[in-house]
Symmetry: C2
Subunit: 572 residues, 2 copies
């Protein structure tokens, strides 16, 4: 199917949602001139369309495979990844000192979006590398930074996050992997990790595992966790690749989707010879993990937007080509393309509205990340508040939109060859990994809402009211969000959690509605992009915003009703 | 995973929603005594659990395959199907004169539900046979009825519906298959049909295809279509199986789910020797098709309930066994089963509420089918109104609930071995086949809403108000449904279609809310079932009903906004 990165949309969002002009006015981002940003967007789009997109289907049908020689990527992936490294597509926002280009995270977000829209499974690899870079940048020693970061920035080496164990999923504190200190200051790592994306592959010469483990005598729970860097191949003092470390992939999962991404069970220290170095202080693992996870959560939210965009393009393409039935009520009885039928249009516009709304959350958060990096404390608060929204709403949108995409295709949507089914299958992991969406909702009503007595939320709502007071429906939703937030924040803990998910959706839609309204005002003129944007904005505000207002009763219903039934009766 | 047919729920719904006691008081259904109905429910449950359920996973992993010898079902299916025939599970509501048991359709609905909950792919075969039985019963000649019905009723022969062609999906009138009359009164059929479920298989000794085709000189469109019965093997005058007819499966589709159900491309008359008989009058095909489709639509809505029930049981089972994290705010820091966490409970209760609400629509419609068969004109109107609701809402529920089922499983949900992914993949076809849900919505606001000037809807809303006036939230939704219905009915045709889908959901939830409220009142006492039912009813009324009220703005938004954007801009 045809596919094009939506560069005009990216440019528009960088300008009106991420605020790239203001960023470019900061000394740190002086290079982010309009010409430079355009060149990056166009180049990334061209690379994503030419190198990543054509491999999406073979990635699904063949998938990553585990062989005697290790995990092998599907045909074409190794060459495309080498081109990715050679093109410098991983270096956009990395420090210039490390070989990066020093551009804003917002621009890197657009580049990653292009890659992920082209091929979600493939782009997950660089996404994970980013997490490793951030953990080592924030918490690693100078030696570790010197040893690992330059190669991770270019993508010559890739990174992984090793958190989950069979008994420790959402409850990270239950992990059992051990790290035993050695006389030379290193640690011997021993344990099994599951769900390790890109835990093994043949794309790069080394894989840098970041591993959560427990040192001897460490306190129980999350307070006793430390972070370790465990390279697949040891790295010599001169930076050369050394002997293999005692870490290996013992199986890969048979998943519903995302087949090109190898999901590994990793065994560390089978032969008691897995060497790792501690990153940051002992028992500082949770803090380091949050560093890794937070931007990863933003990028997983972006994955929802990516699969939604891809599914929408496929659906629009199908709907404009598939001729079926005359238009109801039309004078002509000639059959028309199904895009002409009102309910198909409704589906397509819903796909576009959801996708663009979720994208707006991603770009707003990205712009705030850039400001936070420059020391803006309010921006840091906003990023923290936005992270669960971006992650959960973005990935929910990916699932819903890819489902509508199947529906637009009719019977063809259920046939694998069409490709719509792959989007639907691929999309379904995103609400689960990097913290389930339920965990995001708990984070929102816990740390993010009550942690600062609601100040961050109040600032956001004030900003929405200040800018979009002429959108009556949006103001109704914002008032409702405020009421629900106050009730949850000051209420019982179980009630707060019981209402967390509908509240998260309400707040996400209110925030996206604000950013959509802004885009509607900015989309002046009569060119095609402006007309499309205005129509999609109206769909968002007139249909999706009122839907979200319907969630407030559920958000306020409390927990008692959920516990009125015993576990035995649930089973019955 | 453990699985049990919810017999107590079926019994409760037959009593309080289908009104089985009143049915049993009718002379036609005198056999439907409580003891008899109980015996049927228990027997069907036991058969479904023992014979159909264990084959669900092998059906997915191996699937139906096309071989030199024809389409082969997965291992175990042939034997289980023979047991199905021997047990008489297809004969529940068939005429006694044809070898049936003459019980209400409502009871047959429960039996089919048990089979489909155990194994959706497998139970689709009997579902299609029912369509063939109804078409031949209503429109066939006495000779055709004598020749085909007894074997179809027992399931010794199976039936198919052959409507779709590559250019004729939702637009049935565009079909091109031809039927040329022969001197002996039969017709030669020639053409290709696609998406023919169970078009070929090795379960039964004959397959009776019901085929829509066009006679020479027939008018264009749906008015020129006739229905033909085309047996795979010709049937001799004495009922014995004769020579093979010129009809064959030329390929089967590679689908996202429902792998055990062979979806065939059927070629009729490759060698110009495919003989069929006309069913009913020439050009009477559409009427006969609606006979076939209408109950098929009810049964496809039921499929949504079936997959939702199966997904819910799997999720509850997982959530009660998976231990992860301490309960937030609890004194004990011991980890608990995730069913104890508020947001997981919310998910499980949402699954149960959606499933039970959709099931209530199915059983209400089934009870009305039984009354309509006994000459109740108001019941016929109700069935016609309910059919698009049951089909679309039931299948939407199947998709949503199976999606939540994956979420409850966390990362395990994305791994195929767990089984939750199969439910999610299987569920996705139901909103598409037997008339897409968009077609159902168009049928609702067209024929069903405007055809009788809104009288059928008014009767339904009056009944809801009369019985559930104490449910304030439900009354708000009913008022909103009435306002939207009036606006759509009296408004522009495009606006009506633009609002059709959200209106369908609103009306479905209002109707289900009414039937849930009734169940809540009936669920007295302190046994586990009654406590569960009351909790699920409250969840439906307090959370799902207000959500549906949020759809009214979208339903009233009209079509202009959908056409504010040109096709070129949608592509951009």
């Amino acid at each position: 199917m045809p596919f094009a990165v939506p560069v005009a949309e990216q440019r528009f969002l960088l300008q009106h949602v991420a605020g790239i002009n203001a960023l470019a006015a900061m000394p740190a981002f002086a290079d982010a001139t309009p010409d430079m940003v355009d060149a990056v967007l166009e180049g990334a789009a061209s690379f994503a369309e030419g190198a990543f997109a054509p491999l999406n289907r073979v990635g699904d049908t063949i998938g990553a495979r585990r062989t005697e020689a290790g995990v092998m990527m599907p045909p074409g992936y190794v060459a495309a990844y080498h081109d990715y490294v050679a093109g410098g597509w991983g270096t956009i926002d990395a420090d210039v000192a490390l070989g990066g280009q020093g551009l804003p995270f917002s621009v890197a977000t657009a580049v990653l979006e292009s890659l992920g829209t082209a091929n979600l499974s493939f782009a997950l690899c660089p996404t994970l590398t980013v997490g490793a870079i951030e953990a080592i940048s924030a918490h690693g020693s100078v030696e570790q930074q010197t040893m690992y970061l330059p190669k991770l920035v270019t993508g010559e080496w890739t990174g992984t996050m090793n958190l989950t164990e069979p008994q420790a999923g959402s409850d990270v504190g239950a992990l059992r992997t051990t790290a035993t200190p050695q006389a030379d200051g290193t640690y011997r790592i021993k344990g099994t990790k599951i769900y390790i994306s890109y835990g093994e592959h043949d794309l790069a010469e080394n894989i840098i595992h970041l591993v959560l483990a427990r040192t001897p005598g460490a306190p129980a729970g999350t307070r006793g966790i430390s972070l370790f860097v465990v390279p697949r191949f040891r790295v010599c003092a001169d930076g050369a690749i050394g002997a293999a470390n005692d870490v290996r992939c013992v199986s890969i999962e048979h998943k519903m989707g995302l087949h090109a991404s190898p999901t590994c069970v990793m065994s560390f220290g089978d032969r008691d010879d897995c060497i790792g170095e501690i990153v940051g202080p002992e028992h500082g693992g949770m803090r380091a993990m949050f560093t890794m996870m937070n931007n990863a959560r933003l990028n997983v939210g972006l994955q929802g937007v990516e699969i939604a965009e891809r599914a929408t393009q496929a659906a629009v393409d199908y709907a404009t080509g598939r001729v079926q039935s005359a238009r109801a009520g039309a004078a002509s009885r000639e059959s028309v393309a199904i895009v002409e039928h009102p309910d198909v249009r409704r589906m397509l516009l819903r796909m576009k509205a959801l996708t663009q709304g979720a994208r707006a959350l991603c770009y707003h958060a990205a712009g705030q990340v850039d400001r936070a990096h420059q020391g803006d404390a309010a921006a840091r608060v906003r990023v923290d508040l936005m992270t669960p929204l971006v992650k959960a709403y973005g990935t929910d949108v990916g699932v819903e939109v890819s489902g509508i995409g199947i529906q637009v295709h009719g019977g063809m949507g259920f046939i694998e060859e069409t490709g719509a089914a792959q989007h639907y299958r691929d999309a379904r992991i995103a609400p689960i990994y990097e913290g389930t969406n339920g965990i995001q909702a708990a984070d929102l009503v816990g740390r993010k809402l009550t942690g600062d007595a609601g100040a961050g939320l109040a600032a956001l709502l004030a900003e929405i009211r200040g800018e979009a007071s002429d959108e009556a429906g949006l103001m109704v939703l914002v008032d409702s969000v405020e009421r629900v937030a106050e009730a949850l924040r000051t209420g019982d803990g179980d009630d707060r959690l019981a209402g967390s998910y509908p509240f998260l959706t309400m707040l996400s839609v209110a925030t996206a509605g604000w950013l959509m309204a802004r885009q509607g005002r900015a989309a002046v003129g009569d060119d095609g992009f402006a007309r499309m944007k205005r129509a999609v904005v109206r769909f968002y505000l007139d249909r999706l915003v009122p839907e979200a207002a319907g969630l407030s009763a559920g958000a306020l219903s409390g927990a008692a009703g959920l516990y009125a039934v015993g576990v035995e009766e649930l089973v019955a």
